[in-house]
């Protein structure tokens, strides 16, 4: 389990912008909105000394959500990622990252489980 993110606020403006981008009406956050907080928790993977993961080498392969409670304006959200699987492979390693999303009040919002493919770095010999 990696360090949790610093608390991040939910605002009506952010929800409405997200909803507009996915074709949902303003107001209640669209179903995938919690992912915007989950992905912040991935920074801990990028920062980890014993992993070699960078955002620009990632391709998102699968995404699942298990949601307990909706996010509403006024919530302060923290997200914490756990690397639950890492399979090295030629070309790209396959990672499964389970991210718990909670409010600072202690409510569990849900869990976002992501399968990511991380391309290896270009060979040094390629110059």
């Amino acid at each position: 389990m990696f360090p949790a993110t610093a608390p991040s606020p939910v605002t009506a403006e952010a929800i409405d912008a997200f909803n507009a981008a996915v074709g949902a009406p303003p107001g209640a956050a669209a179903p995938t909105y919690p992912f915007t907080f989950a992905v912040q928790a991935w920074q801990a993977l990028f920062d980890a000394d014993d992993l070699d993961i960078e955002l620009h080498r990632l391709v998102h392969a699968d995404q699942r959500f298990s949601i307990r409670r909706p996010l509403v304006p006024g919530d302060e959200v923290v997200a914490q990622a756990t690397l639950t699987d890492l399979r090295p492979a030629p070309g790209a390693d396959r990672l499964v990252v389970a991210t718990e999303i909670r409010t600072t009040a202690g409510d569990l919002v849900g869990v976002a489980t992501s399968t990511l493919l991380c391309s290896h770095r270009p060979s040094e010999a390629d110059g």
Partner: protein, 135 residues
């Protein structure tokens, strides 16, 4: 969700996507991965060029489910595999068609929905499902 029973089809929705839509999603979601904005960055990881965020296609699909279900807070478990990228040309538009079918309804009214999401006639999401609780 009236007449909820296996076999019930959700109203199909078709969305037309441009790079402006990708930029709007990137800004709203905080996703700064350059594969969604820069052709060279996308090609560097083996993609044909700029592609839509998998989460944009999933977000669009689940927004359709939320509309059917009477609100986003009805969705309790949902997700998909990103099986095919959706390239978005710099000056063009691509379609995203979202269809769904109720596959099961539990005793308490919780519904299982299978989604078919295609672009240019090809499936872009795999194993796209949503579990929706009754009101």
């Amino acid at each position: 969700m009236s007449d909820l029973a296996p076999g019930l089809r959700l109203p199909a929705r078709t969305v037309m996507l441009t790079r402006a839509d990708l930029a709007a999603y990137g800004a709203a979601s905080g996703d700064s991965n350059p594969i969604h904005a820069d052709d060279a960055a996308a090609q560097a990881v083996g993609l044909p060029g700029v592609v839509a965020h998998g989460m944009l296609t999933l977000g669009r699909a689940m927004a359709v489910v939320a509309e059917f279900a009477g609100g986003p807070d009805r969705l309790v478990e949902f997700g998909a595999r990103f099986i095919r990228p959706v390239p978005v040309p710099a000056d063009g538009v691509v379609d995203l068609m979202i269809e769904g079918t109720v596959t099961a309804v539990d005793e308490d009214g919780t519904a299982e929905i299978d989604l078919t999401v295609t672009s240019s006639g090809a499936k872009v999401l795999g194993m796209a499902t949503a579990r929706v609780r009754p009101s």
